[in-house]
Amino acid sequence: MKPARIGALAVGFVMLALVAVLVVSDGDTDVGARSPLLGQPAPAIETTTIDDQPFTLARRKGSWVVFNFFNSTCVPCIAEHPSLVKFAEGERARPGGAEFYTVVNDDADAAIRDFFVANGGDWSKLRDTDGAIAVAFGVAKVPETWIIDPNGFVRLRILGAVTDGVLEAQMARLREGANS
């Protein structure tokens, strides 16, 4: 065959392959996202709350701990806030309930205080100077929610905003798994 035709066919084949690759691929739909930290001990976190109280994650062993990485100007964070308030109140009411913490991501104390005064939620908000906690967890974009079990192991990572009931369901699933 003439070289021009060979060339045309070869290029055509490669293009078809490229388009096929783009069209055929499929995404996954789990709630939990991947992370190298899943099933590993949580990173050692030592920081202060925005009220200057010390906080050490290792000291919370014995409780389920939920970290929510948050920024007061991020739209999905604002959207998911009522669901978080509901979840935190539910957990506070039950014995052995999870401790809920907000990790402040690249935001000022004053803005955080104002937001929580206006929108409710009276759990501890933790400072994250220079984003060290975010880097320790591998958090690139807010909001993210992490669940750590009473033994200090990371069990779940949720990317993006949560809706009503999602966290409750996940906590129930994890507790059931722990008991069995």
Partner: protein, 656 residues
């Protein structure tokens, strides 16, 4: 509200009329060309006029809405703001997707009109008519995009009285005005030679008349593309604050790919003009250049690179991908059917001839384009196959393109002195001795200046070698033709080469020999680094309607103060750092202010970059632009537009 939505409806109506004009223009030109029907072909200029007028009108309506802050439009709500200065507000139109597509329509219509005007006396020829048809088709597609998925005239929710304005990164440097339009003049300009290439394939007009017709268009579009890419690098340097000019990110790669194939075409086409060889290859290069502009737009606008799954969720992605597929499919079919008719007799006798050098050049550029395309697209492929995300970044591209670049510098030195049609190895050793001594001197000088490392030294040496060769050509041309020795394709090309060499040398120096340090400055104390002193004079705060900024006034070497700053755009809540640069011929001192800044503390942490030879990047760019201008200037007034001028051939004969 009727009044508020009038603009939106007017805009869309204009777009619809424009689309119809272009759509029917396709048929008028194609049918007229096929049947050789003059009456139908007489409609073509009218459709050109109508579609161009509509394009200008649509863009005008958009600008009017933006300038008058008409917040009834969703697009103005997205990128307009009452507190943006007028200049940046005007440029805000092309700061997001929909406005960019509208600008594409405008530029394309402008090129269509220019081409139609230039060819107005020859509109009856099938080749020209088919080229018009192809251009109408592309214009119709973009009108359709602007009418449909990328609609800028969507009516937004009512009651909005202000917006956030364009991205803050697009608001603090005047270059934002010029970089996208110039880049589009280059990008979109490649449609014209593409249209003629397709027309040549369709009509089977195997002679090279169309080549000579479009040569200046291609070089001009290429020149705009080059300048636009360089402006992007300048903007990156002046605004982004990481002190570099090129990051190999997908948006940059998308603009580089058509540039690579375009440059390959400009060189390879000389073989076709001289010897009639490589016709199929050159047509393929032109088609590839245009296709890559569409593919590049697809890659950057569809969100497919963030995640391959975002692609199917975007509005415009599937359209662009399908159009890319159609263009490639049609072109491949045409080449398949007609390719062999383009072939002529003749052959390349020796590797050491000018033709041989251009063949090697083609190989180099093909590999270069492949590297950039593969690196950009590879994460998609891996994600689709293995469901995990990988990144292919700067280290990969640097590693593979540096050897290609060095080889190109070598070819740049060797090719201009090679003769056509015969083996020139003997002439090489004769003519290149001087340039090689020059290259050696460059290495020696750079060693004295403290350079180290194999790759940069090779770059300096080969750069000197190539510069010597180009200067040799220019010297001989000027000796024979005096001032005219600077004008014309070959001589202008040598000046462009000089510009390229300056850029390569500057890139090599700044990539390899940048020094950096973070310094905590306190008012009253002098810090020093790399032979310069830095003293913090003051930390000042500035507020205006849309932002508040903290600036650190740093006196460099006891002289005037440079003020790197961090600006917080209050509406969007975004912090933008702005660097401050002291430029000299030998190096730039690049200062950035690091967060967190404590106001009224008399302290500031700055980062200092000492970047060698950066100014030469911009000097080289202007040399390239100047050389391109010289290359498209006519050498003498010519009667026949088709044949290459005897003077063009004479320029190349200087060395024969």
């Amino acid at each position: 509200m009727l009044v508020a939505s009038a603009t939106a409806h007017l805009g869309r109506a204009i777009l619809l009329v424009g689309f119809l004009a272009a759509f029917f223009g396709v048929f008028a030109a194609a049918v007229g060309a096929r049947r050789n029907d003059r009456k139908t072909l007489r409609l073509v200029p009218r459709f050109v006029l109508l579609s161009t007028a509509m394009a200008v009108a649509a863009f005008g309506v958009m600008e009017w809405a933006m300038v008058t802050r008409d917040f009834s439009l969703e697009y103005v709500q997205k990128v307009g703001s009452r507190s943006t200065p007028p200049l940046y507000n005007f440029a805000a139109v092309w700061s997001a997707l929909e406005g960019s597509i509208l600008m594409w329509v405008l530029v394309l219509a402008g090129y269509l009109a220019a081409a139609a005007w230039w060819m107005r006396k020859r509109m009856n020829e099938p080749l020209i008519a088919w080229a018009m048809a192809v251009m109408f088709a592309v214009l119709a597609f973009f009108f359709l995009l602007s009418y449909g998925p990328a609609n800028p005239f969507v009516i937004g929710p009512p009651g909005v009285t202000d917006g956030p304005g364009p991205n803050p990164l697009l608001q603090n440097h005047i270059l934002v005005m010029f970089h996208p339009p110039i880049l589009y003049l280059g990008y979109v300009g490649m449609t014209v030679p593409f249209a003629f290439a397709i027309a040549a394939l369709i009509t089977g007009k195997v002679e090279d008349g169309w080549l000579h017709l479009t040569r200046r268009w291609t070089v001009a579009a290429w020149g705009f593309l080059t300048f636009g890419i360089a402006l992007g690098g300048w903007w990156s340097y002046e605004v982004l604050g990481w002190s570099g000019v090129w990051a190999w990110d997908p948006v940059e790669n998308a603009s580089l790919l058509p540039w690579i194939t375009g440059t390959a075409y400009i060189h390879s086409v000389m073989v076709q003009e001289r010897r009639g060889l490589l016709r199929v290859w050159n047509v393929s290069l032109l088609i590839a250049t245009f296709s890559l502009t569409i593919l590049g737009t697809f890659l950057t606008r569809s969100g497919v690179l963030n995640s391959v799954h975002a692609f199917s969720e975007s509005d415009i992605g599937p359209w662009l991908l399908v159009s890319f597929g159609v263009i490639v499919a049609v072109s491949l079919v045409l080449i398949f059917l007609r390719g062999d008719q383009l072939r002529a007799g003749g052959s390349v006798e020796s590797l050491f001839s000018r033709e041989g050098a251009f063949l090697v050049n083609n190989v180099l550029f093909a590999v270069f384009a492949f590297v950039v395309l593969l690196g950009t697209v590879f994460p998609l492929v891996v994600e689709a196959i293995q469901q995990r995300q990988i990144v292919v970044g700067e280290p990969f591209f640097d590693q593979l393109t540096v050897p290609i670049g060095l080889t190109m510098l070598f070819i740049m030195a060797v090719a201009p002195v090679l003769p056509w049609r015969r083996d020139g190895s003997e002439t090489l050793s004769q003519r290149l001795l001087g340039p090689s001594v020059f290259g050696l001197a460059c290495i020696a000088i750079s060693l004295v200046a403290g350079a180290a490392g194999l790759a940069p030294l090779l770059a300096f040496g080969l750069g000197g070698f190539a510069a010597g060769s180009a200067l040799r050509h220019l010297w001989r041309a000027v000796r024979v033709q005096r001032l005219r020795g600077f004008v014309g394709r070959a001589n202008g090309g040598m000046i462009v080469h000089l510009g390229v060499i300056l850029i390569c040398v500057a890139l090599a120096a700044s990539n390899s020999f940048t020094r950096s340090q973070e310094i905590d400055l306190v008012v009253g104390r002098v810090a020093s680094f790399a032979g310069h002193t830095f003293e913090l004079v003051d930390v000042v705060e500035q507020r205006d309607a849309r932002s508040q900024s903290v600036r650190a006034l740093v006196s460099v070497d006891g002289g005037r103060a440079y003020a790197p700053s961090i600006t917080k755009f209050t509406r969007i809540g975004m912090n933008v750092g702005t660097p401050s640069v002291r430029t000299t011929l030998t190096h730039d001192i690049y200062l950035t202010l690091e967060p967190p800044v404590r106001q009224d503390s008399g302290q500031a942490r700055i980062k200092v970059f000492i970047k060698p030879l950066i100014l030469w990047l911009w000097i080289g760019t202007f040399v390239m632009a100047f050389g391109t201008l010289l290359a498209v200037l006519p050498t003498r007034r010519r009667r026949h537009r088709e044949a290459p001028s005897i003077h063009d051939l004479r320029d190349e004969a200087i060395d024969a």
